[in-house]
């Protein structure tokens, strides 16, 4: 699909209508506001292949798939991201002929996602079977300011006739999930109300009993004058609409304004939902479309002011990084500590649940550096709030004494995924959650979160690791058996280097953090130990595991072993694979993948990325040179980490190639699956590739350091990072680097090999 969308700095543009690409474009042009979001479905009927999808944050369905061989300890359910009621729908008829892009002739089509201002625009000329032709223009957004409201301006202009247009704006809760078993529907109606130009449907999800009121308010204007209409009120179960006709004049534009709202029991008392929905619709109508669109643009301008990355000399790269940043901000705003960053955000239904280790391993740094400490804290609090459920989850698996295993996938803290090799064994996720606490503390140098909350989480996780290892008499070492590492193309392996490393790193960091608290605040330290029922003997045991862990390596090759026995595999580089067999997960059986040497995403290399500061460059290079050629990068999360490490190792061309694979993964549909939704969490990896990769940003010895290189044919690139009280602007050009410290305090930064002092609001230029 490369080249299908037009390159542009600030917009994603589709210039022809293609039924074949329709579902992909529905994903690509998705809009959202952190509270809800929707695929870029057309407002009017579309009878071709489509995935109609609207999604409301926090609302899910606990699906049970009954299979005969359930394993003991499996979770109760598998969380489905639920397709929510649709408020965007507007059926349209021209002289009783229904407008349907799949069956009508469509010309002059253009669809644009305006990332600068945060709206979706579509225009087209549509010829009906009898030859009548109209121009259609739709502008739609999900408000970042009033987060329960969305708005549509839907313009219709007869081009070659005067005559009757019929409209039917509606709210439809009779929706289904694409992946539902046996076409089951998940919403039951609670009530519905239809008035002229207004209506609500209140529906409740089965099992989880989330109640959502979905409302609409509309009116129609011509020449900025509201037209008087007499709509027929229609209703069936879970559905309300208004239907009305107008007599339209040739070349006159008729604007149907439709505000929509979602009001959910996730946020409000169930009894008040309808009242609040009406208030929201009133608010939308009183503000009006243009005012709300301006507020939307202003809200986006603020996000871009700190969060933008500019690239000169590479329009594809420029567009892509903005697209990635835009989608991340559409998905998560940090306003609600109960929400998180689903792998598909509000753009599709694949993968259940909203929270994966992706959040801590890939997204956390992005929000910390571009949305600020408060948003990052919300992400940390999300896990702290779910600590008790993580402890219960570990108990189900036989762990004791407050050991915590965070779920692989969750909506509310409960595990909701059930492949044993993932659910029970991909336990390294626990390490990433601990790492985010370290990352935040190291970045901010604030210990308040760590001492008040972080230690609780670190203790639960450390207790898990200390119980999960066992002493091997044969090796005279602690070993960790039966795990799945980040490379999910291996299951149930022994002594995965990454897992063993991050486990003992957690134990080390926990012991150090408690020691720090003891030194800084002995009273609080004693209180914390009491609160957590911890003794210093437990620290001794943790340290014993740290000191005696088995970390597989091959000294001759100078590499760590992904797991025991890795060198028994046939080690044939990916470059020698038949391209027709790629991606392997679409052509090879699972056992063949498992016993092959091929790596889905970095495993040892993920560890060397996280813990770069604990290894010398030569070690990292040897491991990169050994493992990268065996890596198929069939996870969207793979290329970014490799891009960063490649830059670190001076492999700039390779780093740039990895960057493009991550940045334009969805826009160019590398994995041929964008129609199912976007890869939201991996988009943060794109940002990391630029800021930590090409920008070389690290926090070392309490100082921010930069080591920029300009990749490929770029002329320059610039990015901002929020660092403590400072907003740093970094502009990397061929001639040199400009660094600006927007702050009323000075800051020392490490720039390549120089320590530079930047005064308040000072810019410095360091020539290449």
């Amino acid at each position: 699909m490369k080249g299908y969308y037009k390159l542009d700095e600030w917009n994603i543009i589709e210039e022809v209508f293609s039924a074949e690409h329709h579902e992909a474009s529905e994903s690509i042009f998705s809009i959202g506001n952190g509270a809800f979001g929707q695929r870029a479905n057309f407002e009017e009927k579309y009878s071709g292949e489509t995935l109609r999808g609207s999604y409301v944050g926090g609302v899910y369905y606990p699906d049970k798939t009954r299979v005969g061989w359930w394993k003991n300890g499996y979770p109760e359910y598998f969380a489905k991201v639920l397709n929510a009621p649709n408020w965007i729908g507007i059926n349209l008829w021209v002289a009783n002929q229904e407008v349907d892009f799949f069956t009508c002739k469509v010309s002059a089509f253009r669809q644009e996602l305006n990332m600068q201002k945060g709206f979706l625009f579509r225009t087209a000329e549509v010829t009906l079977p009898d030859g009548k032709k109209i121009k259609l223009e739709s502008t739609r957004f999900c408000s970042l300011v009033d987060t329960e409201i969305g708005f549509i301006k839907y313009n219709v202009t007869p081009l070659n006739f005067s005559g009757e247009l019929s409209f039917e704006p509606y709210v439809d809760a009779d929706v289904e999930n694409k992946d539902s078993n046996y076409d089951e529907k998940f919403w039951d109606e609670v009530s519905r109300t239809v008035h002229p130009k207004r209506g609500l449907v209140t529906a409740k999800t089965k099992k989880t009993e989330f109640v959502v009121t979905t409302g609409m308010e509309f009116w129609i204007e011509n020449n900025n004058q509201e037209i008087t209409i007499s709509p027929i009120e229609l209703e069936t179960e879970k559905f309300i609409s208004n239907k009305f006709n107008i007599t339209a004049q040739k070349d006159q534009t008729y604007s149907l304004y439709k505000a929509g709202t979602y009001v959910s029991s996730f946020n409000h008392d169930e009894e008040k939902l309808e009242e609040i929905a009406f208030n929201n619709l009133e608010l939308a109508k009183s503000k009006g479309f243009e005012t709300m669109l301006n507020q939307q643009a202003a809200a986006w301008a603020k996000r871009w002011e700190f969060g933008d990355i500019k690239i000169e000399g590479d329009l594809a790269a420029q567009q892509a990084i903005r697209y990635n940043i835009f989608q991340l901000h559409q998905t998560y705003t940090g306003d609600d500590a109960r929400l998180n960053i689903g792998p598909k955000g509000f753009t599709g239904e694949k993968y259940g649940g909203s929270t994966y280790w992706d959040t801590e391993a890939y997204c956390f740094q992005f929000y910390l550096s571009t949305a600020g400490e408060r948003v990052a804290e919300q992400l940390l609090k999300y896990r702290h709030n779910q600590l008790q459920k993580a402890i219960e989850n570990a108990q189900k698996l036989g762990f004791k004494n407050g050991a915590a295993l965070y779920p692989m996938v969750t909506m509310n803290g409960e595990e909701c995924h059930n492949e044993w090799e993932i659910t029970f064994e991909e336990i390294h996720r626990n390490g990433a959650i601990a790492y985010a606490i370290y990352n935040y503390t190291n970045y901010t140098q604030k210990t308040e979160y760590l001492f008040n909350y972080g230690l609780d989480v670190l203790t639960g996780i450390s207790r898990f690791w200390a119980q999960r290892v066992n002493w091997s008499e044969a090796k005279q070492k602690y070993v960790m058996l039966g795990v799945t590492g980040p490379n999910e193309y291996e299951n149930n392996v022994n002594n995965n280097w990454y897992t063993n490393y991050i486990a003992t790193w957690t134990l080390r960091y926990s012991v150090e953090s408690f020691a720090k608290l003891k030194a800084e605040n002995p009273v609080k330290y004693t209180e914390k130990l009491k609160e957590l029922n911890l003794t210093e003997e437990e620290f001794t045991q943790w340290q014993k595991v740290v000191d005696n862990i088995y970390l597989p390596e091959d000294k001759n090759l100078g590499v760590f072993l992904q797991q025991e026995g890795f060198l028994d595999k046939e080690l044939i580089p990916v470059s020698q694979l038949d391209p027709a067999e790629r991606p392997l997960n679409q052509t090879w059986s699972w056992d063949r993948i498992l016993r092959s040497c091929y790596i889905k995403q970095g495993d040892v290399l993920q560890g060397l990325y996280f813990f770069e500061h604990e290894f010398d460059k030569e070690t990292i290079r040897k491991n990169f040179d050994f493992y990268e050629p065996l890596t198929v990068h069939e996870s969207s999360l793979s290329p970014c980490v490799h891009s960063i490490t490649a830059t670190y190792l001076g492999k700039n061309q390779q780093a740039y190639e990895f960057y493009l694979r991550t940045a334009r993964l969805d826009l160019d549909d590398y994995n041929k699956e964008v129609h199912e939704g976007l890869h939201i969490t991996s988009m943060a990896g794109t940002w990391l590739s630029i800021v930590e990769g090409f920008g070389g940003m690290r926090i070392k010895d309490n100082t921010i350091s930069l080591d920029p290189v300009i990749p490929g044919h770029w002329k320059s690139f610039s990015f901002n990072v929020l660092f403590r009280s400072h907003t740093l602007k970094i502009n990397v050009t061929e001639k040199g680097i400009y660094v600006t410290n927007h702050c009323n305090e000075s800051l020392d930064i490490q720039l390549k090999s120089n320590l530079i002092s930047l005064g308040a609001e000072e810019t410095k230029f360091i020539p290449s």
Copy 2:
């Protein structure tokens, strides 16, 4: 449940009616004839917990369980054993009160499974709400002679009144599976016909489109005189019945005779099913119940003549072994090479599919020695007939050049199970299929099957093994990565000793067998090579794998390692486990089981059982002493093999304990799951425990050898084996051993350390 059923030589007896035990008894008293079978459901209504189940051989449903994480290469479906239309039903009312054991008062209850004659008998006195009391007697069998016919004699005697009895014999195809997803039903009606005293329902299974006509024919007698009745013909979708009343006299017995038939498109043209069904019903009526019951008893007598095992001094053991033999013969008769031995036979729905490696590993020897070579050949042919599908199955997994992987579970040769760790990795099953060919050839010394058909199967399997190993540079050996051994409490392990051993044994046996053919018949040898597109270079490669396979062992301990890394586990014997945590699969999470040392069923020890002749006794003893204490025997297939090896090692008390666990597994419901159906395939293991265990039967150097010991407090035991043209009767007493050679040819047998020559029809006594 120990002691619930009364001990008896030839019968299984239940002396009280217990709603709590009802589902278990429905399993225990199951009857069948190899072509169809049924649980011991009551004929009349039963409103308590019940699993109504009738099953027709070869008829299945390909269920799809949609889960989001399907692995590439998975089979199309998961085969469900289908609950078939019910012909046994007879609703009964006494003065308009429905007879229902769950709600009525039941006394003088007795249920008997007559194993000698092959029928099910039930009697009870039932008191209706108004105080009326009847005696009920039901006798039912599935005919071994006319295998599409079953028969019921249903006696009702008013005990304290004269008055109206109403009967409604019916055929019901509106049945469902207990484990169906979302209560889906699997049968659609094709047609139905109802006449006075006769009726048919023809129904078709969804997806697989098996058509089955189920018919009934009935009449009612008093004092051997048919009573004239005027039944009302009733029908609804998938259901037909007759309803009629009689005025019954106190103390008079009214016998409703009901014949049933299943006629299936599995055996006949679809168009002829109804005609054949009517013919069957005519046949049943003309033969009559008593004649058919006598024929049934005669057919069973013939089976017992050769297949019985007599035990003196241990009634529990005597009853149990007969029960096991009886159920095996009810499940599989060898009449149809398309059928096989389902793990639950015709007694339940759990586990999909009909054929597992259980057939070759546990059942084959039983049928070979008690039902004869022809039946054993049918089992071999079953696999030969499915060779092409096994080759296709291997192709789906990426294997080439005619490599064959037989399915883990199948109905018709296609794989129909989908857990990757089983489907793709429990490949040792291929070895058991090769072993059965060896076993048959070694036992019979006939090479015809081997040379004509067996070599085809051996070649497919050998090609699989040769491709499934890979060369390890690190070890300088061939290794086999990513397998699941017989101990399913380990998944995806490397170098499972059992799998590596049986794989290279297969390669060895194939090479030897081809060499033997070459020596005996060079022309045929050349033809076979051509037919199979084989070259001698391929043999060289196979031999290279044999010579260079990696077989993990620990020389210090003197044991083979179940798999690489086994000694990294915590090795705590089962005896130290908390009994409250047993069985582990009901209390431990899967990952905990996987990383523990606990063994579900023999793995290394299964190999040492199969290949006992290739190891010295001391090696077997060391491995037994190492692994058995770590074995939880949570597979029904586990105790029998351990019983045999324990006897071999002189651990007689332990052997006897294992024997009881296998023999009375269902009768005493050791695993608390008999309500789901019987463990049919493991029943063959009980036979093995006696014949190969206590009897010590082996085939060595072309001679049958025996090495009997009397276990526990038995006084004597005797068994027969069909060996080539001989029927050997072996009676082991405290005083000595009687061996009889029923044959017109003499035979040399090895009895303990003596080679004994037995003339035709000669009995010899060898004192202890």
